[in-house]
């Protein structure tokens, strides 16, 4: 039943993609209504599924259905769907954001020459993303993983005439591929050991101890590589800021709310795979990412770049949360982040649309009068991401910090305290740069009067999604259902029978003790960040330029994004290209050279033997011929052609013979 709904949720966008890609241009309004309405139907179905799943109110709720996809000898590869509370939540998030983004795009993309194609790609993405959160096995998740990658590629490079866009698309796909190959090797490893791709079966093998030790750690880290790529974690985070070359609604949907969260989902879905060692690495990576991205966001001037780095930073939070065992907190943040970050991007899209595709905040200012709805919703989202109490972002971020502190208190290691400290400092940074962006965009005096004058509030297809998302941003954090339903899976769940009950004991108990401290600190840092931002950008008490001049080196370092792109360009990219050129040269000159050399040697040899043949062997033959010829030439003199001469000679010969005859007798 529920499975059938989910099957339709996944298939409907695929159908609309197929129709749209082949016939989109010929449909009325270029077919924009089709994918959009399909997504709203999907949202409805997702709500029904969520309703059915949550009505059981069981954290262990699971429905799985699979069919045998490929049977080869003893190997059976099954493919199927797994629906639990997490999937239901993800389905809801994806369909909600996707449908709102579809609606928003109708206004935003109006008049684009490839308008119908755009909606086709959005459908393709929705299909892949919905599949990703529903499949029940590693191979399946890898397949949808790649498919979201390719839809992301198509959408980032949507305006492919721009060199920067096609570059960004290529970069996104390739950087992701690096992570994906790690994930693929992880899948190879898992399959080699467990002979199955199915999540539950793999986890069962882990629970039974068949799959353990260093190999399990390795498998976990390798699978996590996929998440590092897709969720733009350090060191593979470089693609996400560039991905902002895509249309802004795409950034909202793919590069903020859903696809980039797939990495977090992956870690959540395969949580039991990660050993303590693997989790340490995951927590470290998440924390480093959160910090680095936040520092870069502080100096960015492009409104979308600020949001992009903010996204990376927030994804780092989620990953770090999972790494410190804050399973629920990480996924909770995934959900709230999806709401407010989609809202921020769509808000930014609305601003950019109003400013005629101007993204530089130095050209904005004072827009709150011109774009009231956008301003209010943007403000709500900014407050949410900054951790202002009462909004959804506050609850989830607070849960993460509490989990980090709880883990630190539990283990008592410096490592975990450092993680907590970094995260809480980053929370302050987040509040600072987000409010900086808000003040620069909406407050102060217009810095580009001409563009300001032409700015206007967006049409209702664009403001309605803003309002809807704002609503979810406000209410998303309330209620305890998330905490009660999305519970950290334990190995015991996947072992058979008796051990089942032990599963429930392993809750996130430790976090509660740390809750109060974390909450106080987080509020403190959030307001500190907001206050400093206000000092610089609202009250203009201090000049940001002065600070940047004073710390010029640091400023340049941050402005250049820690020189990651340059580093990769100089090493990985140039290295590969050089290697490929060297190999190409090697192939042409050496390998083919040997082949051609062999050919030339053979020709030379044949020339040599040809000469010998001409001069020596054939010479002998010719010499014989020449001797015979000389005799012939000499004797021909006798051949007078005169009959009488011949007769005379015959007579002479006869006489001669006769004389000899006589002499002999």
């Amino acid at each position: 039943m529920i499975v059938d709904y989910v099957v339709w949720i996944i298939l409907l966008p695929l159908i609309s993609f197929t129709i749209q890609i082949f016939f989109g241009k010929r449909l009325p309004r270029q077919g924009d209504w089709l994918p959009t309405s399909v997504m709203f139907v999907d949202l409805l179905l997702a709500l029904i599924v969520a309703g059915k799943v949550f009505s059981a109110y069981d954290p262990d709720f699971r429905i799985a259905r699979s069919f045998e996809w490929v049977v080869l000898g003893t190997t059976t590869i099954k493919f199927g769907l797994l629906i639990d509370n997490l999937t239901a939540v993800m389905l809801f998030i994806v369909t909600l954001v996707s449908s709102l983004v579809h609606l928003f795009s109708i206004g935003y993309m109006h008049g684009d020459p490839r308008y119908s194609r755009y909606f086709a790609y959005l459908s393709l993405f929705s299909f892949s993303m919905l599949g990703l959160v529903s499949v029940d096995n590693f191979l399946g998740i890898y397949m949808f993983w790649e498919l979201v990658g390719v839809s992301s590629f198509l959408l980032i490079g949507f305006w492919f005439e721009k060199h920067s866009a096609s570059n960004a698309a290529k970069k996104a796909f390739l950087v992701n591929r690096v992570g994906d190959v790690g994930m693929f090797i992880g899948i190879l490893l898992i399959f080699a050991i467990t002979h199955t791709f199915n999540f539950d079966e793999v986890f069962g093998k882990i629970a039974s101890g068949e799959f353990a030790g260093a190999l399990l750690t390795a498998a976990g880290i390798l699978i996590f590589c996929g998440a590092v790529g897709k969720s733009a974690q350090f060191p593979l985070h470089v693609w996400l800021p560039d991905a902002m070359e895509g249309p802004t609604p795409v950034s909202a949907l793919i590069h903020a709310a859903t696809m980039v969260a797939a990495g977090v989902y992956l870690v959540g879905r395969t949580f039991v795979l990660y050993t303590e060692t693997a989790l340490l690495i995951i927590a470290g990576i998440g924390t480093i990412t959160a910090f680095i991205a936040a520092t870069i966001a502080v100096v960015q001037m492009d409104i979308k770049k600020v949001l992009a780095y903010s996204t990376i930073s927030q994804l780092g939070y989620m990953i770090a949360a999972l790494g410190v065992g804050g399973y629920n907190a990480g996924l909770f943040h995934l959900m709230t982040h999806a709401f407010f970050k989609a809202l921020l991007f769509l808000g930014a899209g609305s601003v950019i649309h109003a400013m005629h595709h101007e993204q530089d905040m130095r050209q904005m200012g004072g827009l709150r009068h011109k774009l009231p709805i956008t301003f209010v919703t943007f403000l709500i989202a900014t407050m949410a991401i900054s951790g202002v109490p009462g909004l959804s972002g506050f609850f989830s971020k607070d849960a993460i910090l509490a989990a980090a502190l709880g883990k630190a208190m539990e283990t008592g290691t410096l490592y975990h305290y450092l993680i907590f400290a970094t995260l809480i400092f980053t929370a302050g940074l987040t509040a600072f740069y987000m409010f900086r962006a808000l003040f620069l965009t909406f407050y102060g005096t217009p810095r580009n009067q001409e563009k300001y004058d032409h700015a206007h509030e967006s049409p209702s297809t664009m403001t309605i999604p803003l309002i809807a998302l704002a609503l979810f941003t406000v209410i998303g954090g309330y209620g305890s259902w998330f905490e009660e339903l999305i519970r950290k899976p334990s190995l015991a769940m996947f072992s058979t029978g008796a051990a089942q009950e032990a599963a429930h004991a392993a809750a996130e108990g430790a976090a509660h003790g740390a809750h109060t401290i974390a909450m106080v600190l987080s509020i403190l840092f959030a307001f500190a960040g907001i206050f400093i931002a206000a000092l610089y950008y609202y009250w203009n008490k201090y000049s940001a330029e002065a600070v940047s001049e004073k710390f010029a080196a640091l400023y340049r370092f941050l402005w250049n994004k820690w020189y990651f792109d340059e580093l990769y360009q100089a090493t990985a990219v140039r290295g590969t290209l050089l290697l490929s050129r060297a190999m190409g040269w090697f192939d042409l000159k050496v390998i083919d050279g040997i082949v051609n050399g062999t050919a030339r040697m053979t020709t030379l040899l044949s020339f040599g033997s040809g000469t010998t043949d001409n001069r020596v062997v054939d010479g002998l033959v010719n010499w014989v011929a020449r001797i015979v010829g000389w005799f012939g030439a000499t004797l021909r003199e006798i051949q007078t052609g005169k009959v009488q001469a011949y007769i005379l000679m015959a007579l002479g010969a006869f006489i001669l013979l006769y004389v000899i005859q006589l002499a002999m007798v």
Binding site: I21, W69, V70, V71, L72, G73, T74, T75, L139, Y142, M143, F144, W145, E146, L147, V150, F153, G157, F160, E161, H163, A165, S166, N167, A169, K170, F173, L174, R177, V178, D180, V181, F184, I185, L188, L189, F191, A192, H195, T576, L577, L579, S580, R581, M583, G584, W585, D587, I591, D592, I594, V595, A599
Partner: protein, 513 residues
């Protein structure tokens, strides 16, 4: 069910060839139509074979066995199992498509189509022959038309490329002939006790006599066969004929070359080397050498592809990389890897065929193949770009398209091999996944993205004839990506049997060295 269907499918093109030869030289359209009809009939027969093929038996099907040259015990012996049926289907499909793609050939039309049909017959013959001598004959029959097709209808350096191709392949043939003779004289016919060319008898280790029971000799024979087939695959370092042949060959011939001829190398290994000399195949120095070459093929081929500036050369090197995946899948001797490898042979035939056709489309219009010489074609030729993207993404192993499954299975099989430890090799091999994505996307970007090159503002979109060649392949790319069982069902039983045979083959002989 048509009796003697295999003979029909092999010799139908020969009949077509004679009809083409009888037609007057000026009737170009008639010649083309006759060729298309005969290759089309071949597809009908192939479909018959597909429908009537029993997927549950390991034995040879549609067998025909007639004495041919009695004094040497040579038989006209044909039959197919799961391995060959996939190749027969592929050959029939690609031959027809290549004929359609040859429609704009204008030089010596009669000779071209006659030679092409002969080539077609040779290829079919190779895939159905079960008598080693017959196999060898078809192998050589195929060589000559190919030489002329490249050498006459090719590009500017066609003579060089054709001779290189011919000599290289001939070298392989000679080695194969040596191995063939050793096998002939040392395998006894279980019925008569005499010498035999029968491959099935050769596969039965009990029939091996004489020097074939010496391990060193077995290794030598295996090595000779290996090099013979490696040249066709082609395996590094025997691969350099391929880029030249591809660059110079006309588009349809490139399609056949990449789609069918390359498969003969790996087909030969699976049909002959592995089952006849399983212990030599499993001998560790050989096996790890084999895998090393496979990995070199993948990484090296991909890196070389990245360095190319000629589109056709890029696709040629990409073929080298993809054939490396086939080798890797075969080497692990697991059912998953073996099925993946043969599926990859099939899939690569489709995708590389498509890629060469796509290159042909723009080459016909722009008369050059420089990757950097295009740019922005996406805005001028949206349909073409769509199809090209499909092929490019299939080639880089995008899930949902055919190459993904076969590559994944090959890697899975090699990695999970229990007979040998190929894990490190496989991990290095997966680098190919990144590299392939790298050069395919880079090419996609340089050819299709960016501002439209002003030279090509009037470049016409793909025409109907080109679509007829591209669309069936494109459909297969998607269908086999989603439902690979269409081909896997055919392969499975035979290949599992092959894997078991090779795995279980007595390594007693190993002790006799």
């Amino acid at each position: 069910m048509i009796p003697n269907i295999l003979s029909f499918i092999v010799f139908l093109p020969v009949v077509g060839m004679f009809i083409v030869l009888l037609l007057p030289r000026e009737k170009k359209t008639a010649i083309k139509v006759v060729s298309a009809v005969f290759t089309g009939l071949q597809i009908v027969l192939a479909w018959q074979i597909y429908v009537n093929f029993d997927t549950n038996t390991t034995s040879m099907q549609f067998v025909e066995q007639v004495k041919w040259i009695e004094s040497f015990n040579i038989w006209y012996f044909v039959g197919i199992d799961g391995l060959s049926v996939s190749m027969v289907l592929l050959t029939a499909l690609l031959s027809f498509i290549a004929i359609i793609a040859s429609w704009n050939i204008d030089k010596a039309v009669k000779a071209y189509f006659a030679l092409f049909l002969l080539l077609d017959a040779g290829m079919m013959g190779v895939f159905v022959a079960l008598d080693f001598f017959l196999f060898y004959i078809f192998w050589e029959v195929m060589l000559l038309p190919m030489y002329f097709l490249i050498g006459i209808w090719g590009g500017p350096r066609r003579e060089y490329a054709a001779i290189k191709f011919f000599l290289y392949t001939l070298l392989g043939s000679v080695l194969m002939l040596l191995a063939l003779l050793v096998l002939y004289f040392n395998v006894k016919d279980p019925v008569t006790g005499g010498h035999t060319f029968n491959m099935l008898h050769m596969m039965d280790q009990a029939n091996h006599t004489g020097i074939l029971n010496q391990f060193n000799i077995r290794l030598l024979v295996y090595a000779a066969l290996f090099i013979g087939f490696a040249i066709k695959v082609p395996i590094f370092p025997f691969h350099t004929w391929l880029p030249d042949a591809h660059v110079e060959a006309p588009t349809p011939i490139s399609v056949i070359l990449a789609g069918v001829l390359l498969k003969m190398g790996t087909y030969g290994m699976l049909r002959i080397s592995f089952p006849i000399l399983p212990d030599a195949m499993k001998w560790e120095p050989f096996l790890y050498g084999f895998v090393t070459l496979a990995v070199i093929n993948i990484v090296y081929g991909s890196l070389c592809a990245m360095a190319q500036s000629d589109l056709k050369k890029l696709v040629a090197y990409s073929s080298i990389g993809h054939m490396g995946v086939v080798l890797l899948g075969m080497a692990g001797l697991t059912s998953l890897g073996m099925n993946g490898a043969v599926l990859q042979m099939f899939n690569h035939g489709i995708v590389s065929g498509m890629l060469f056709l796509l290159v042909g489309v723009i080459y016909d219009r722009a008369h050059h193949r420089e990757i950097d010489g295009f740019g922005g074609l996406a805005s001028q030729m949206p349909i073409y770009t769509g199809i090209a993207s499909l092929a490019f993404f299939a080639n880089l192993g995008l899930p949902g398209l055919n190459n993904f499954i076969s590559e994944a299975f090959s890697f899975l099989g090699a990695f999970g091999s229990e007979a040998f430890n190929l894990k490190v090799f496989t991990i290095i091999g997966t680098l190919g996944i990144i590299l392939t994505a790298g050069y395919m996307l880079w090419t996609l970007q340089r050819v299709f993205f960016g501002p439209l090159n002003p030279k090509y503002v009037n470049m016409p979109e793909v025409n109907t004839r080109e679509l007829i060649t591209l669309v069936p392949l494109g459909v297969l790319v998607i269908v086999l990506g989603v439902y690979p069982n269409l081909v896997l069902n055919l392969l499975e039983v035979s290949l599992n049997n092959l894997v078991q045979t090779v795995l279980n083959a007595p390594s007693v002989l190993l002790g006799m060295q």
